[in-house]
Amino acid sequence: MNIKKTSALGISLVFALSAAACGGDDGGSGGDAATSATGPIKIWLSNNPEEIAWGEKMVDAWNADHPDEEVTAQEIPAGKSSEEVIGAAITAGNAPCLVFNTSPAAIPQFQKQGGLVPLDSFPDGKEYIESRSGDTAEQYQSSDGQYYQLPWKANPVMIFYNKDLMKKAGVDPENPPLATYDEFLDTSEKIVSSGAAEAAIWPAPSSEFYQSWFDFYPLFAAETGGTQLVEDGKATFNSPEGEAVAEFWRTMYENGYSQNEAYNGDSFADGKAAMAIVGPWAIAVYGEDTNWGAAPVPTSAGTSAEETYTFSDAKNVAIYSACKAQGTAWEVLKFATSEEQDGALLESTGQMPIRDGLETAYPDYFKANPDYTQFAAQAARTVEVPNVPNSIEIWQTFRDEYSKSVIFGETEIADALSAAAAEVDDLAGQE
């Protein structure tokens, strides 16, 4: 057969298969029977060692009392991101019953895919979520008014600083001036000019959609007293507060206090940066090797710690529609987020369960671990990513404009925020 015939056959095959590919969907899932069905289930856990240790103990405790509803746990399979792996599993129909690492930003997409079970469909679903998390729960409601995720744990981010490097830079290590933008810039100037560290703070300057959660968004939450990036279907960042935050970071990059090239490693652990924006997980990671302190993220006016909001960096739990025994999944979810298991999670990971009155619920823990108290206090004032359609596209749009104007200074900040806001309004308004 000559090349022309082979090519023609190949092209015909492609088009024949493209016609075959347009087969429709069949059937449906869910319903009351599904939400009350019981039996063995599979769950996925995050792949950090502390959470796996907690998860395995939790599963053992459940299995000991429920031999007919055995839970099998495994780490989330490797992939570029958890969201990508979970999205693929939803499409393939082999998602587990529960994933204890569901990003709130991915919820709208998973919901659109038909991959999630609304927790309101369980008789005590809504009541359980709201009684456990209080007013904070509202941020996790989807646009249809239902909960497709249980707010599980937060890592409220704060400014973590290296006291030794502060001292080297001639800054009071016990109480470094970091409350206002001016103070923060002044402290940063001292750190860099003294040679104490290459950068004062080194947030990842790369273009992944989620990177704004660790530079712009915490400061925006603080500056606005707890405003989400999108509210009532409209972008909120094209405002004087949004501009103030962007201008602050622009000054950081322009003056070399932050670097616009990604650091290949952990800049804080390696002593290349004197500060980092991190959650309470950092205490376990850096605590032993670094003489550290923590402060709220700065605001233009220097809001007091008791009034400062920040980004929650929460990870939640959802029940996936591929689950056959959804009744068991719901019971396991309640068991895993009970007061006892939340205490065990706090103990083994230092991450904050999204539970109303966290500090009073576990007084012994916070007495024994005073380092975590300020993070627990901060957990009461957190802002989540907006639960809106096209959430990830919205964050990517914002990041691209932010990157151009703030990190690389190629466009005016006002123009960039305005352009991003117009596009975000459009995306948030789509179904």
Partner: protein
């Protein structure tokens, strides 16, 4: 006026003596002279159909519909949208930029690959010392995982990296990986270096088919080494050059790992993004596989057109 070409005594539909022969001829055309060959070829043909042709077909179909991934059993409307996804893809500045970036990549990568691999293959084909060592050295980057090799290049080209320390005041500002002019050429250079081993191997194989007597005749006629290279080696490996060019174009069009890792997702500001990287963002991260498929189909058409033009130019007599 019409002409009846039937034999005079043949009724329409009547079987003639020629019919069995024609049927045999038809079967031979379809099945070939050795029908058993189909059995041997079938597994790979099925593999191609399932792994390559079906996904391409599905991508083409998706690109003409309002499509998003759903869980099995979820019934959603996926209306035909004509060229809407293509219009959206083409009107997206990030997509246009990524195609432009790949054009820059190809302009640097393809000629450099051809020239370097041919020159090095010719050198390695000669009687030089430590020939095996050099052959292995050029091939090692090709078989090494990109992730590992990228780490070495990050060490070399980061702001405080080895190259900038060597260059001192001559180091570019902004540095290589965050410089919108240099980021893509650097990636092109990286890919050229990494892929060189394979292309040297292809040329080495082709060089074995170039007769030594041609070089001897040329030498007797007074041709120097450069003259022999240009007039015997280059035309002698023309078919390999076609293959090298097409393979490097396909490699360039599929660029993903290098901008994803070396410049942190196509930075700075998309200056090193590639169509495949944008497809990943749109299709997988942002849940718009319809637009991602449109980008993919455009990329496929682009590669086919360029490959066809190259083939015509390189194989012309």
């Amino acid at each position: 006026m019409t002409t009846d070409t039937r034999p005079p005594d043949t009724e329409p539909g009547a079987e003639t003596d020629a019919s069995p022969g024609r049927r045999r001829f038809g079967l031979t055309t379809v099945l070939g002279r050795q029908p058993l060959g189909i059995v041997f070829a079938a597994p790979y043909a099925v593999f191609l159909a399932v792994i390559f042709a079906y996904p391409i077909g599905l991508a083409v179909w998706i690109s003409f519909h309002d499509y998003f991934f759903t869980a099995p059993g979820v019934v959603v409307d996926r209306p035909f949208v004509g060229l809407d996804n293509y219009v959206e893809a083409v009107s997206d500045p990030a997509v246009r930029k990524s195609f432009l970036n790949v054009a820059v990549f190809l302009v640097i990568n393809v000629p450099l690959t051809v020239v370097l691999s041919l020159v090095l293959a010719a050198a390695l084909n000669g009687a030089i010392r430590a020939r095996i060592f050099f052959r292995v050295s050029y091939f090692v980057p090709y078989i090494s995982a990109s992730v590992a090799v990228v780490a070495v290049w990050l060490f070399l080209f980061s702001n405080n990296g080895f190259v900038n320390q060597l260059l001192g005041p001559l180091a570019p500002d902004p540095s290589w990986l965050v410089n919108k002019t240099l980021a893509m050429p650097l990636i092109a250079l990286f890919v050229t270096w990494k892929q060189l081993g394979l292309f040297i191997l292809l040329y080495l194989a082709a060089l074995q088919g170039v007769g030594k007597e041609l070089y001897e005749s040329a030498s007797m006629d007074g041709a120097g080494k450069f003259g022999s290279f240009m007039n015997i080696t280059v035309p002698g490996v023309r078919s390999a050059t076609t293959l090298v060019v097409i393979l490097s174009i396909i490699t360039g069009a599929n660029l993903f790992t290098e901008p994803y890792l070396l410049t942190n997702g196509g930075g700075p500001n998309g200056a090193s993004s590639s169509p495949v990287l944008v497809m990943y963002q749109r299709g997988i991260e942002q849940g718009n596989p319809d637009i991602a498929s449109a980008i993919g189909v455009l990329l496929m058409i682009g590669v086919l057109v360029i490959a066809f033009i190259n083939k015509r130019i390189l194989e012309r007599d």
